[in-house]
């Protein structure tokens, strides 16, 4: 009961704050926004529109890019087995990365929210550490660990497990999980922190075992956080460039690595643009699907 009172007063004061601001006039509003709007119009909107336009150009290796309104690139992407495989591989890598992230982040998030209080800060800092390091540096570390002469490969070899790590999909997934798991961990920490622990105590006192409590009470209550973490991990790992490029070594291609090589070495800009639009379309579809499902979930 006591906890409710300061909350209410704070909400009241915030409401009063909102009305006390002196709004700026329309002219000042526009004047203050103009510099950023110009930067975004030229540096953001125009480039994206150019990608949209180039995707419908034609390309012949002898001539180069030919301005047109053709769907040649899209029919090549959707109709050729090479590109269909590429699409499937990209989605599979992102899916596996997301599922592995759930498995390793759930125990971590439980430790952060329910472990000894002194450890929580350290655990959280360690979890966020990959986010504070350039993806190039992290991936460089993995190339050393996963390489043929590297530590992990040595362990596998001495155990007689005939699995190669560097320049294989497995190596790429290891790097992707490491780079994008903080998103999953943060979502799960937020979801677990919101759970009313009394629901678990109630289940225990009604005779449920620890596994039953976890799967029937704890896990269902983190559904929304889990969904948010999955969407973020999937979308970001699908768009990764540095990790598949360095850990795949040209042998594990994704939509994004092909966009990069087509744009920079092959100079086939129409194909790169069309692949870019496909990536954009998948991203939007996932975000849209998520907002529809989440909207329905919160209404129930």
């Amino acid at each position: 009961m006591t906890a409710v009172v300061p909350d209410a007063s704070r909400a009241g004061s915030r409401k009063a704050k909102g009305s006390a601001y002196q709004p700026v006039g329309r002219g000042t509003f526009l004047l203050l926004l103009t510099p950023l709007l110009l930067v975004f119009a030229f540096g953001f909107a125009y480039p994206l529109l150019t990608v949209g336009r180039f995707a419908f150009d034609r390309f012949e290796s002898a001539v180069g890019q030919i301005p047109a309104w053709s769907t040649e690139q899209f029919s090549a992407i959707l109709g050729t087995e090479v590109y269909r495989d590429l699409l499937v591989r990209t989605l599979l890598l992102a899916l596996v990365t997301t599922l592995v992230s759930i498995l390793i982040c759930y125990p971590l998030a439980l430790a952060i929210t329910r472990g000894p209080r002194r450890l929580r800060g350290i655990l959280m800092a360690l979890t966020l550490m990959p986010m504070l390091t350039s993806v190039v540096v992290k991936t460089f570390g993995w190339t050393v660990l996963l390489s043929r002469e590297g530590f992990l490969q040595g362990v596998l070899d001495s155990l007689g497990i005939p699995v190669q790590l560097l320049f294989t999909p497995l190596g790429v997934v290891i790097g992707l999980v490491h780079t994008y798991m903080p998103f999953m961990a943060l979502s799960l920490v937020a979801a677990l922190a919101r759970i009313d622990r009394r629901t678990e105590e109630a289940a225990t006192s009604l005779g449920s075992g620890p596994l039953g409590v976890f799967f029937k009470v704890t896990l269902p209550q983190t559904r929304n956080g889990l969904a948010a973490g999955m969407v973020l991990t999937f979308v970001t790992s699908m768009s990764a460039l540095v990790t598949p490029q360095l850990l795949g070594g040209g042998r594990v291609n994704t939509l994004v690595t092909v966009i990069y090589t087509q744009a920079t070495s092959a100079q086939n800009w129409p194909l790169a643009s069309a692949l870019g639009l496909v990536l954009l379309a998948i991203t939007f579809l996932i975000l849209l699907l998520n907002s529809v499902v989440m909207g329905r979930g919160s209404r129930n």
Binding site: K17, Q22, T50, G141, M181, G276
Partner: protein, 253 residues
């Protein structure tokens, strides 16, 4: 469960620990576990003009990005915070959208536009790309500052006769200094560590440190990259540690 947590933590720390540890190796090739102890690779990095040039480019770029983000994002955030409505909400979403958009698609588009104008592989082109990527972090942080500050301060200054500009400069801006600083430090770090968009915009006369490392990793097995990477890790960590302290400082005041 604790065994799993320890394993996960080892997984998180492993690649960074390997980079730092192997930068001190005494062997002529990357080795983990490192053999011997030596600082010679830091010396080698300092004598390598490619690494030094990239480092200086990255430093100048990140400083310029933070400065431009401050100049264009702080006024825009103030406008959005003090003129609420449908337009402001829409603009806020547009300005934050680089956070959700796949960076490759943006890098690709910027490559096209800059090539057409003859600015591919230039510092200015890289600057434009980095400002777009880093500005959402400044906007998010500063917008929260403008929305959470005590509105009576601004109101009091203006009713005592200060113009809006004077009230902004002497009252509003100082009271959001903490959130502005942490936003700008983030902009610096984002720019300093950025690789994806930069890989599309790089050229012989414009190469940042992450791009140089990216290139070296593919063709070389030389511990100098480990030394350079350790420097990059250290800079990001120190800067982020500083921002984590700054909100506490502003609370004390």
């Amino acid at each position: 469960m604790w065994a799993t947590v320890l394993a996960v933590l080892a997984f998180i720390v492993a690649p960074l620990a390997v980079v730092v540890a192997s930068s001190f190796t005494a062997t002529g090739y990357l080795a983990f576990p490192p053999e011997g102890f030596s600082l010679e690779w830091y010396g080698a990095a300092a004598r390598n003009s490619t690494f030094v040039d990239s480092f200086l480019t990255s430093l100048q770029l990140a400083l310029a990005v933070a400065a431009i983000c401050a100049l264009v994002s702080i006024p825009a955030s103030y406008a959005i915070a003090r003129h609420p409505g449908r337009t402001a909400t829409l603009l806020e979403q547009v300005f934050l959208s680089p956070l959700m958009l796949p960076a490759v698609v943006f890098g690709l588009g910027l490559l096209f536009v800059l090539s057409a104008l003859g600015y591919r592989g230039t510092f200015v082109g890289g600057l434009l790309g980095h400002v777009i990527i880093a500005s959402p972090f400044v906007i998010r942080s500063v917008l929260a500052g403008f929305r959470d500050m005590d509105p009576h301060l601004e109101d009091a200054a203006m009713s005592l006769g200060a113009s809006r500009l004077r009230a902004f400069l002497t009252v509003t801006l100082p009271s959001v200094l903490g959130s502005a600083m942490s936003g700008l430090v983030f902009a610096f770090v984002i720019s300093f560590d950025e690789a994806v968009v930069t890989l599309f915009l790089t050229g012989p006369s414009f190469e940042t440190l992450p791009v140089t490392i990216f290139t070296y990793v593919q063709y070389s097995n030389d511990p100098t990259i480990a030394a350079v990477s350790t420097v990059l890790i250290a800079i990001s960590f120190v800067l982020v540690a500083l921002t984590m302290r700054s909100p506490k400082d502003s609370d004390d005041r």
